[in-house]
Symmetry: C2
Subunit: 494 residues, 2 copies
């Protein structure tokens, strides 16, 4: 078992360097003064070089060959498979391609920060083209190595096992009912009266409220903390999860829902199997499953009617106010407001899938060579009009230039958001069959619900494929029907 | 110039890994929740192994040989010397000795935390003996390599160029006047009436006051920050200095003076030469010079009569109180109170040297083999009685078991504290000759004073030997007379 142990030790070493990177990255975003930036990025780059050298060391190929011939337990075999996948993902690309991608991506992303504000599609296009070309090269190499199609080979980075064939089928399904649903919900909500919030909301009070909400959702403060950063995220390591938020004095709900969302990510990390700590098999299953946990907290729980009754008194106490806008019913109305808009990150639960499907369809065809960068704005506008009834013609800023993902070549990520929403709905449907969720939420007793997630999702790490994980947890693989039912019930009461 | 450049690059790599270690270490002390401890220490140990491998790589010996034959500028020659010293210091000890020391030190320190509380000298002694034996071995190896005596070879780690011959002479001088001075000051202060502070002092207000004081002392918040930790320290890196403190609701002066002390360390780090960043030649000169900067801020500036007039209104404003105990005069009395006591870290400026000299004399004789561990308590008691007039007989907790330094084998460090106090006094004496310090402090305009330190101390890094640094700055090498004059003037008004 010598080589298996060597690989195990090697992976833990890499993971521990990743630990330092995660903490220094968190510090960079949440603590570091501006003047520390240059030296910090140099220090982190040095660590990246060392990690890369370790991850791509020559001897690993032999170690894997030797380890596979060793007498391993079934558990070790699963871990070895995960180790091998991680190693292949990091070694499949030639070093010069990785370097070109890094350069083109940095350049495109950096310029995009200015170009987006200036609605400068022509300027952006010139930078995006080489990024797409390099991503196509990457996709070809990955496709050859995995036997997948080019786009699927990129999708596989974020969603192992997922294919565009499955996504095409699922998203076609969604497209068959979503535009109509959006119209119905809009019509229904047109008669609702939502009371505006009486601002401002003091930052310290919002912070106290955020911590209360995290406590309610079972965040383990012995293994994590909450801080402030410009772009909220969930970072750190499973034994010390760092979530961040930013506070808006004119609207406490954005930070509160953001914190609840990140708490979902955090609980997944905190609940990962300790016996596999620092190994790939002990990591989160996929980006979609990760997102399912954040959306479970935010969408399935926090934006529900019952949960508003838990939040309302907490909010009233936090801001020492009994204003009618803070009633459970008004909070529910605020938290379930649906309105088609240009911006994905501002989208509500109902219109969000339209944003994702649009991007998926474009990036899939882009990587497969069916469309070119020049075609993006027209297709974007057509699909926005078709799915959400709004046009982005000539508005690149709020159209195809709004996201960071493509600027640095992250094609294949977008589907994870909607897969997450669907998995979350499916998990909740199963939980609903096994316990009285309404009663538990009404009592503020979320423990049994999280225990279900701990047992069926968190504790599994990456020991099962996504399909097996979902099947063992819910009795079937991904079924988008649960998501549809969830939206119908919440937004149309049927 | 190829090998010089290789060494330069190699040192920067090591320094950048040190950067990550410093930030993760700071995080560990100031931010990390308890549950993150185990994984963090594993991650940091991994980094330590990588750093150690780099620092002791086989090829370095050849690189130094080659580099020394290269055509270098005088500046590069100085940097190369510093690189070589650092390399030798890290490579001089055989790996098995380092490992034995690490084990014995951890064991002794860990047990000491309990044994000290239990006044358990017998238990502690059993652990300290192997630590001393290993330190003697280390001293012999270092002595052989450097041509220094055994104790001097350890002293040289912290105070390059300093010897026990010099310390013996200087400390003999101090001993000739210190005991009498202490008695005189005690007699003088016996008639003073010091108003007690009206507690409590709210933590948030103390924190605001600390930040005010740091601002007054020119701390650069673009390159550093203040946080809370159990054991206050100055960490981070020169471009991002992290100082910490802890707040005591019953006494704001401890945190305030602590923050001012650490700010002195921080300004030195922030002021180090940027062109030598990440290289040994760009680091602080010695522990004694480092301490001189913290004591310059705390002792030369903050505890002076004039500075009390700056602090008093800040303090009154911070706590929104005009209580008579917060008057400039009462603050001066509090900040210059002298009282012989058992504990070094609680000692005032006047009695502090006695604590250091006692430790120096014991550790010198211990390393040179003139006394044994068994002899320590008796000698400690004799010297405490002789220097401070108080006996520690049978009281190991507050006697020879009070410090952490010896528990992990850090022999040779103690003199730095008093050397720092002396250098600080000497620097202030020179500054006093070049500008009207009283006037400047009276105006709250400390800039010219800090500019002097920037030019003469901070900006020099380690480009000069300590003697040369002090001589170029003040016209002479270390002269303890300035320290004596400072104490006489402040505490006896003559």
């Amino acid at each position: 078992m010598c080589y298996y142990n060597k690989l195990d030790r090697h992976a833990k070493k890499l993971s521990r360097l990743g630990h330092l990177n995660a903490i220094c990255g968190w510090d960079q975003a949440a603590m570091m003064p501006n003047g520390g930036a240059q030296a910090r990025s140099e220090a982190m780059a040095e660590l990246a070089v060392i990690s890369h050298e370790l991850a791509t060391a020559d001897y690993l190929e032999d170690w894997f060959k030797q380890a596979e011939a060793e007498d391993l337990t079934p558990e070790q075999r699963v871990s070895l498979d995960a180790l091998k996948r991680q190693w292949m993902m990091q070694n499949i690309l030639p070093a010069d391609l990785v370097e070109q991608q890094s350069l083109a991506g940095s350049q495109c992303e950096h310029a995009w920060r200015t170009q987006r504000k200036q609605n400068d599609w022509e300027g952006f296009k010139a930078n995006l083209k080489p990024v797409v070309e390099l991503a196509r090269k990457e996709a070809s190499i990955r496709a050859q190595a995995t036997g997948l199609s080019r786009y699927d080979a990129l999708l596989d980075i974020y969603e192992p096992g997922m294919t565009s064939a499955v996504l095409d089928r699922i998203f076609a399904e969604v497209k068959s009912w979503l535009p109509q649903l959006i119209q119905q919900v809009e019509a229904k909500q047109a008669t609702e009266i939502v009371l505006p919030l009486s601002t401002p909301f003091v930052i310290e009070q919002q912070q106290a409220l955020s911590l209360e909400a995290m406590k309610l959702l079972g965040f383990d403060f012995e293994h994590g903390r909450l801080d402030i950063s410009t772009h909220p995220f969930c970072g750190g390591v499973p034994t010390d999860v760092r979530i961040t938020t930013r506070y808006d004095e004119s609207d406490f709900t954005s930070a509160l829902m953001g914190v609840i969302h990140e708490t979902g990510h955090a609980r997944y990390e905190q609940g990962l199997p300790q016996q596999w700590r620092d190994l790939p098999v002990g990591e989160a299953r996929s980006m979609g499953i990760h997102e399912s946990q954040s959306l479970f907290c935010e969408m399935q729980l926090a934006r529900s009617s019952l949960f508003s009754h838990l939040l309302s008194p907490m909010i009233q106490k936090a801001f020492n106010s009994t204003d009618a806008s803070l009633s459970a019913e008004n909070l529910r109305l605020i938290n379930t407001r649906v309105k088609p808009g240009f911006i994905r990150v501002d989208a509500d639960e109902v219109t969000y899938p339209a944003h994702v499907i649009l991007r998926y369809e474009i990036e899939r065809d882009l990587i497969e060579g069916k469309i070119e960068v020049d075609d993006i704005p027209t297709i974007w506008d057509q699909k926005m009009t078709q799915y959400l009834g709004i046009s982005t013609q000539g508005n690149f800023t709020d159209g195809c230039m709004q996201d960071i993902h493509w600027t640095d070549g992250s094609f294949g990520y977008f589907p994870s958001y909607t897969l997450g929403a669907m998995y979350a709905a499916q998990f909740m449907a199963t939980i609903n069959q096994q316990m009285d969720v309404e009663l538990l939420v009404g009592q503020g007793n979320l423990t049994p619900i999280f225990e279900w997630l701990q047992t069926h999702i968190w504790n599994k790490g990456s020991t099962l494929s996504t399909d097996k994980l979902v099947e063992q947890a819910t009795g079937e693989t991904l079924n988008p029907e649960y998501f549809k039912q969830h939206l119908m019930k919440r937004y149309l009461n049927n």
